[in-house]
């Protein structure tokens, strides 16, 4: 199967924009939130253990 042209691929993405689905938004913001909470918690733990 011939591979698509990169420029065509980019143009196609512009014309057929896939909007962010609610599940993607959940994935993004839940992951980020968990990351921030863990960062604060683990920094505190490591400072306490030090």
């Amino acid at each position: 199967m011939p591979e698509p042209h990169l420029t065509d691929e980019m143009r196609r993405m512009e014309s057929e924009y896939e909007p962010l689905l609610p599940i993607e938004n959940k994935l993004i913001w839940y992951t980020f939130g968990i990351g921030l909470v863990l960062l604060v918690a683990l920094v505190l733990v490591s400072w306490l253990l030090a």
């Binding site: 591979e3 698509p4 042209h5 990169l6 420029t7 065509d8 691929e9 980019m10 993405m13 512009e14 057929e16 924009y17 896939e18 962010l20 689905l21 599940i23 993607e24 994935l27 993004i28 913001w29 992951t31 980020f32 968990i34 990351g35 921030l36 863990l38 960062l39 683990l42 920094v43 733990v45 490591s46 253990l49 030090a50």
Partner: protein, 497 residues
């Protein structure tokens, strides 16, 4: 440019090509090579010096005095024979590897020979006293100035030479393409490095445990903070489809080539997507490799562990990250000595960079599993398809097993038989010679596969823009912050006297 999406053969990193080839994987091969060197080096414990003939390069003013066998027991061996024997060892081991990978042995032999010769020449040049000597050693060489780059500057020279070959002499690179395998070389080196770091950690067990714990904490946070923002930026502001945004986010934020490939297959992206992302990953990791260690030397010389963690978190691909850890180790120690008179013990910065990178690699499989589940169950529902936990093992980077094994074996040997520690140190010193050569070959190979002309390829601008923005506008700075939070104040031991 009719086939811009079809990369020229040497444009696709060998790690990508390898994923579709039969035969042993680079991962398992690296474990075998690393363990072979490690086990041979342990011969010293039974009184058999099996690797003492390997050549080592000291900082030099007189070229004839630069090369010597690593062990005193082989002191009478002429340097040329020692060098030839070392080359012969690499050739035989790597040719056996080529057979196991079912690749062309003849082309591999030519490639290994060329890469070994060019890389070693760079290493040799980088050890010239005017380039390498630290201020405390200048008097001994009878010189009053030097670039103070230590003999690790050979790595930078190898990288620049590789870049020249990759970008100006692509025809030559094509001839030894079979052997341009930075991932194989660095993974073999990392397996050997495990034992070397084990012996370093043996003297400082508390510091080593703290380093492991902080490294684990740092990468858990980095994973979860990097990936979603890069994915969001690619989708929301650059309009990338899910198929492109997910491998791109993994490539930029996690661990370059391996993460892009794992994510690509997790979400069932077309193979060309991770290939294109991987090409960009390699190019930008070279840019980072040329900039970040010097930035770390300038601003973080008083915090070598922060500098090491930063390299592990910010520089993508195993090769470039561990390589930048090695350069940073040398540069930071040289600057700390020159500016503050503090002589930090070597290898701790490299150790942190490697630890962080190894943890990142371990989690690639877990993250790919999570994405595979989200995609198959929620985004592109595929009836009757189940995501198996076995996929985590399938995507687990196996060379890490070798690294952990050599690290633990040395720790256990040292703890159970303290009388053997001097011999273990000597044997790891011999293994370290091979690690150094694998490192310099990695640098050359990274340069050779970094085809900067790709940036001029039609249609690549948008991919490069999101990469540039996220890497230099977000990942590097958040990576620095996380490194600072977890490693600030943790200092390597100081060499006395």
């Amino acid at each position: 440019m009719a086939n811009a999406m079809q990369p020229a053969k040497y444009d696709a990193p060998n790690a990508v090509v390898q994923a579709t080839q039969p035969g042993m994987s680079e991962d398992w091969l690296a474990v075998c090579i690393g363990l072979l060197v490690f086990i041979l080096s342990l011969g010293l414990l039974s009184g058999f010096d099996l690797l003492g003939w390997a050549v080592t390069t000291s900082v030099w003013m007189v070229p004839a005095k630069a090369l010597v066998p690593v062990a005193k027991s082989y002191a009478k061996l002429p340097a040329a024979i020692s060098l030839l024997a070392t080359y012969g060892f690499f050739l035989i081991v790597l040719l056996l590897g080529a057979l196991a990978m079912r690749t062309s042995v003849k082309r591999f032999a030519i490639g290994v020979t060329a890469i070994f010769a060019l890389s070693y020449a760079c290493w040799f040049l980088g050890s010239w006293a005017y380039i390498a000597a630290t201020p405390d050693k200048r008097q001994g060489f009878g010189i009053n100035w030097s670039l103070n780059l230590t003999n690790e500057s050979g790595f930078i020279i190898a990288l620049l030479s590789g870049l020249i070959f990759g970008n100006f002499l692509p025809g030559v690179v094509q001839r030894f393409k079979e052997a341009i395998r930075p991932e194989l070389y660095i993974k073999s080196a990392i397996v050997i490095l495990g034992g070397f770091l084990g012996i370093t950690a043996l003297d400082q067990r508390q510091l080593a445990s703290a380093m492991l714990f902080q490294g684990l904490c740092a990468i858990v946070c980095a994973y979860l903070i990097f990936w979603p923002i890069v994915y969001y930026v690619a989708r929301r502001y650059f309009g990338f489809s899910r198929e492109w945004a997910a491998p791109l986010a993994s490539g930029i934020s996690i661990c370059g080539v391996s993460a892009a490939i794992a994510t690509g297959s997790a979400i069932r992206a077309r193979p060309v997507v991770p290939v294109m992302v991987s090409s960009l990953v390699v190019i930008f990791s070279v840019v980072e490799l040329l900039i970040l260690p010097f930035a770390a030397q300038h601003y973080l010389f008083s915090q070598p562990m922060v500098a090491g963690a930063w390299m592990g978190l910010a520089v993508k691909t195993d090769g470039a990250a561990v390589a930048s850890g090695a350069i940073t180790d040398a540069l930071v120690r040289a600057k700390a000595l020159a500016a503050s008179g503090i002589h930090f013990q070597p290898n701790w910065t490299l150790g942190v960079a490697t630890t962080v990178k190894v943890f990142i690699d371990i989690f690639i499989g877990v993250w790919a599993f999570v994405l595979a589940w989200v995609w198959s169950a929620k985004i592109e529902r595929r009836e009757g398809e189940k995501v198996r936990a076995g996929q985590i093992w399938q995507r687990f980077p196996k060379f890490i097993l070798g690294y952990v094994a050599t690290f633990l074996i040395v720790l256990a040997l040292g703890a159970l038989a303290p009388a053997l520690v001097p011999k273990i140190k000597a044997s790891m010193g011999e293994a370290n010679v091979f690690r150094g050569i694998f490192f310099v070959m990695t640098f050359f190979a990274i340069g050779a596969v970094s085809n900067f002309r790709k940036l001029w390829q039609e249609g690549i601008a948008k991919l490069a823009a999101v990469y540039l923005l996220c890497l230099f506008g977000y990942i590097i700075w958040v990576g620095l912050l996380i490194s600072w939070l977890f490693f600030h104040g943790m200092l390597p031991p100081v060499v006395k006297g």
